[in-house]
C-alpha cells in the first residue's frame, strides 16, 4: 500500500498540471477502485460527490453505497405476449437513472418485430406510433441481460466493471477509462458511452442515488442498466417493472422459491436471447398466452 501511495504522490504534481484543462479534481483523479476503498475512502468519496452534485444541481443527494443483500440473486422475466411496445419502461428508466437527456441516452431499446420473425435485423428501432400495439407486430424490449457469464466484464482492461454477489453487473464510473471494449463485447448492445458531457434539467434530477448505479455520470465513461440497484437493494422493484402498464415485467430473487420470478421460470416456457453465446442471461423472456 505504501508503494502505491508513494507513486501516487509522485504523479500527483504532474497530474495537477495535466488536469488543469480537465473537469476533474485531484482527489477524484487519485481516488481508488471502489472495491479497494477503505471505509474512510468511501466516506471521503461520498462527501466529495455530494458536495460536487450540490454545486452542479443545487440540491442535496442521498448517495447510497449499500452492498448486495445476503442470499439474494436477482432475475428478471419479460412477458412478450403482454408487452404492447408503449416504451413507458424506457422513459421511467431515463427518469429514475439520471440518464443524459442531451445527448440522449436510453438503457432500454424496444424493437418492433413482424409476427413470426425473430430476426433482429428485420426489427424496427425507431417506430413512431399514435397507438400501440400495431396489428401484425409484436415488441421486444432489450436491456442489460445481467449475464451470469458476462463478456463485458471479461474484456474490461481495468476491472472497472464487475458482477456483484447479487448478480448485478456494475460500473465504477470513476475507474472506467472509456476504452469501450465492453461495448464491443456485449451481444445485447446494452452499454452506452458518454460521448459528450451528460446534461439533465435540474427539475428532472433523481436525488436518490447509488454509487454503482444512477448517480450522475461524467463525460467519457460507459454506463448501463443495474436493475435499479438504488431501489432493488432496498427491497423495491426496478422503475421499469413499476412503470409497465400491462404487467409484462417480473422481477425478484431467484433463490427464493416463492418469489414471482421463480414461479415464472418454473411454470412458463422461458427462453433467453442469443443462448448459443453461453452468456447465461439472468433475463428471461416468455409468452404467457
Amino acid at each position: 500500500m505504501d508503494r502505491r501511495k508513494f507513486i501516487k504522490g509522485a504523479v500527483s504534481s504532474l497530474a495537477v498540471l495535466a488536469l488543469s484543462g480537465c473537469d476533474q479534481t485531484i482527489e477524484e483523479f487519485l481516488q481508488n477502485h471502489f472495491l479497494e476503498m477503505s471505509k474512510d475512502d468511501m466516506e471521503a468519496a461520498r462527501n466529495r460527490l455530494i458536495k460536487q452534485y450540490r454545486e452542479k444541481f443545487g440540491m442535496d443527494f442521498k448517495l447510497g453505497m449499500e452492498p448486495a443483500l445476503p442470499e439474494v440473486l436477482y432475475s428478471y422475466g419479460l412477458d412478450l405476449s403482454r408487452c404492447i411496445g408503449c416504451r413507458r419502461c424506457v422513459s421511467a428508466c431515463v427518469q429514475e437513472n439520471n440518464q443524459s437527456r442531451k445527448p440522449q441516452i436510453e438503457w432500454i431499446r424496444v424493437l418492433r418485430m413482424k409476427n413470426g420473425s425473430l430476426d433482429l435485423e428485420e426489427s424496427e428501432h425507431y417506430y413512431e406510433a399514435e397507438m400501440v400495439p400495431k396489428e401484425g407486430y409484436y415488441t421486444i424490449p432489450i436491456q442489460c441481460q445481467q449475464c451470469e457469464n458476462p463478456p463485458c466484464v471479461k474484456v474490461c482492461p481495468t476491472k472497472a466493471t464487475w458482477q456483484e454477489p447479487d448478480g448485478i453487473v456494475v460500473v465504477d464510473y470513476n475507474w472506467c477509462i472509456g476504452c469501450r471494449y465492453c461495448m464491443a463485447a456485449c451481444p445485447y448492445w446494452a452499454r452506452r458511452f458518454n460521448f459528450a458531457e451528460p446534461s439533465i434539467p435540474k427539475d428532472e434530477i433523481n436525488p436518490n442515488i447509488h454509487y454503482l448505479g444512477n448517480r450522475p455520470r461524467m463525460r467519457g465513461v460507459v454506463e448501463k442498466c443495474t436493475f435499479c440497484i438504488q431501489r432493488t437493494r432496498k427491497g423495491r422493484y426496478p422503475a421499469c417493472v413499476e412503470a409497465c402498464p400491462v404487467g409484462a415485467r417480473k422481477f425478484g430473487n431467484i433463490l427464493d422459491p416463492e418469489s414471482e420470478i421463480s414461479k415464472v421460470i418454473e411454470t412458463k416456457r422461458v427462453f433467453r436471447l442469443k443462448a448459443e453465446l453461453n452468456t447465461q442471461p439472468r433475463f428471461y423472456y416468455f409468452f404467457s398466452i
Binding site: V155, P187, F193, V222
Partner: protein, 424 residues
C-alpha cells in the same frame, strides 16, 4: 582512473549530443520544408486533440452503434506495420542474407515509431486518457490475464523495448567503432521474430474473441505485408537523400517476400468470404455490408473494392519479375499495397464488426473533421520522430558520425562503417 574514465564518458556524451544537435538542425532546404510540413500537420492534430479533450469524443463520428472508428482502425493497421520489421530480420539473420542485414536497423526504427503511433492512437481513443494509469500494475488494477487489452499493452511495450534496445545497441557499437558482439545481441534479435508475430496475433485476438461480433470470429485476422512496402519506399528515399547504400538486390528481395505475404493474404481473405457466403447464415450481414451494402447502406463498398483491386494489382506487380525489378512499377505496387492494406486491415476490418449492431440496427460511420485532423497529426508526429531518428542513425551507419578518436584505437575506427557486415 575512475575519474578519468568518467570524464572521458562525459566528453564522449557531449561530443555525441553536439554532433546530434548539429545534424538535426542542419540540412538541405527540402529537409526544412519536410519538417515544417510535418510540424504544421502536428499542430493541426494537437489543436484537434485539445478540442476533443475538452469536448469529449462527441466530436468524432463514433456513436454507441459504431463505438470504434478511425483511431482504432489506424492502430490496427500500424500494429501490422510494426510487425513488418520481422520480414527484414528473418532473411537478414536467419538466412544470413547480407544486403538486407545492412538495412534492418531502419526497419527496427520504423517498428519503434509505428508502436509509438499505436500507443498514441489508443490513448486518444479512450474517453478518459488521464486515467490510463488504471491499466498499470501496482498503481492500477490491470485485468490480467482475462482482458486481451491487457495482453496487448504488454506485448506492444515488450516489442517497443526489444526494437529500441537492439537498434540502440547496434548503433552505439558502430558509433564507438567496436565490433558487434553477436553472441550478446543475437538472442534479442531472434526473440523479436516471435514477438513480432505476437503483437499482431494478440491485436487480432482483441477482436477475435468477441462472440457478440460474428464478423471478427475468424482465425485469419492477423494483419501483415504493408510494412515492408513502406520500407521499400523509405529505403529508396534514404539512398536518394543520403550517402547510405541500399542495394537493389535487397529491395527486390523484400518485394518478393511481399508477394508471398500478399498471396497468402488474398487466399485467406477469399476463404473467409467463401465461408460466410456459402454458409449463408445471418452472420453474413457484416461482410455483405462491406462488399455490397446492406438495406441500401453502402458506406464501405467503394472502399473495399478499391482495396481489393489495389491488392490484387500489387500482387501481380510483385509476382512478375519484370515489373518487380522496374522501379516505376515497383513503387506503384508499393503505394497500391499500402493504401489497399490500410483500407482492408484498418477500416475494412474494424467498422463492419459494428454493422449491423448486435440488435440488428444499421448505423453508418463516417469520420469527422476533428478526428481526421487528429489522425493526420499522429501520423505526422510518428513520421517526424522517424525522420529525426534516421537523421542520426544513417550518418552513424555510414561512418560520417563517430565517437572521438582518442577513445578507440584508430585501427578499429576504419571498419566502423561496415561493422554490421561482420558475420555471425
Amino acid at each position: 582512473m575512475q575519474n578519468k574514465s568518467t570524464a572521458g564518458f562525459i566528453l564522449q556524451l557531449k561530443h555525441f549530443l553536439v554532433q546530434s544537435v548539429i545534424r538535426l538542425v542542419k540540412g538541405p532546404p527540402i529537409y526544412y520544408a519536410w519538417l515544417t510540413f510535418l510540424l504544421a500537420l502536428i499542430g493541426c492534430g494537437f489543436y484537434g486533440f485539445s478540442f476533443q479533450f475538452t469536448h469529449g469524443l462527441d466530436i468524432t463520428g463514433m456513436t454507441d452503434q459504431v463505438s470504434w472508428g478511425l483511431y482504432i482502425s489506424n492502430f490496427t493497421f500500424l500494429v501490422g506495420v510494426a510487425a513488418a520489421a520481422v520480414l527484414l530480420i528473418i532473411p537478414a539473420y536467419v538466412y544470413d542474407f547480407g544486403p538486407i542485414k545492412e538495412i534492418t536497423i531502419l526497419g527496427e526504427l520504423l517498428a519503434v515509431c509505428a508502436i509509438i503511433m499505436c500507443m498514441m492512437f489508443v490513448t486518444i481513443d479512450v474517453g478518459r486518457p488521464e486515467r490510463v494509469w488504471h491499466l498499470m500494475p501496482f498503481v492500477g488494477t490491470p485485468n490480467f490475464p482475462s482482458s486481451i487489452l491487457g495482453w496487448d499493452v504488454l506485448v506492444l511495450n515488450g516489442y517497443l523495448f526489444i526494437n529500441l534496445f537492439v537498434s540502440i545497441y547496434l548503433l552505439a557499437t558502430i558509433y564507438l567503432g567496436k565490433e558487434v558482439n553477436y553472441r550478446f545481441i543475437l538472442p534479442f534479435i531472434f526473440l523479436s521474430i516471435p514477438w513480432a508475430v505476437s503483437i499482431h496475433t494478440v491485436t487480432a485476438y482483441l477482436y477475435n474473441g468477441l462472440g457478440a461480433r460474428p464478423f471478427w470470429n475468424s482465425a485469419i485476422l492477423a494483419p501483415f505485408c504493408s510494412g515492408p512496402a513502406l520500407c521499400i519506399i523509405i529505403f529508396q528515399l534514404v539512398r536518394k537523400f543520403t550517402n547510405f547504400h541500399v542495394s537493389d538486390k535487397a529491395l527486390f528481395k523484400i518485394a518478393e517476400m511481399i508477394c508471398i505475404a500478399m498471396g497468402i493474404n488474398l487466399l485467406l481473405l477469399s476463404a473467409e468470404v467463401f465461408k460466410e457466403l456459402y454458409t449463408d447464415s445471418l452472420h453474413k450481414a457484416p461482410i455483405i455490408y462491406l462488399f455490397a451494402g446492406l438495406h441500401g447502406h453502402t458506406g464501405l463498398v467503394k472502399w473495399i473494392w478499391t482495396a481489393l483491386i489495389f491488392n490484387v494489382l500489387s500482387f501481380f506487380i510483385f509476382l512478375i519479375p519484370k515489373t518487380r525489378k522496374n522501379f516505376i512499377t515497383l513503387n506503384i505496387g508499393c503505394i497500391l499495397i499500402v493504401i489497399g492494406v490500410w483500407i482492408e486491415k484498418g477500416m475494412g476490418l474494424v467498422i463492419p464488426g459494428f454493422i449491423p449492431t448486435p440488435l440488428g440496427e444499421i448505423w453508418e460511420y463516417t469520420p469527422r473533421l476533428y478526428e481526421s485532423l487528429i489522425t493526420m497529426g499522429i501520423w505526422a508526429l510518428g513520421i517526424f520522430i522517424y525522420t529525426l531518428a534516421l537523421k542520426i542513425a544513417i550518418p552513424i551507419e555510414t561512418g560520417e558520425m563517430k565517437a572521438l578518436e582518442s577513445e578507440a584505437p584508430p585501427g578499429e575506427l576504419e571498419t566502423s562503417g561496415s561493422s554490421l557486415k561482420g558475420g555471425v
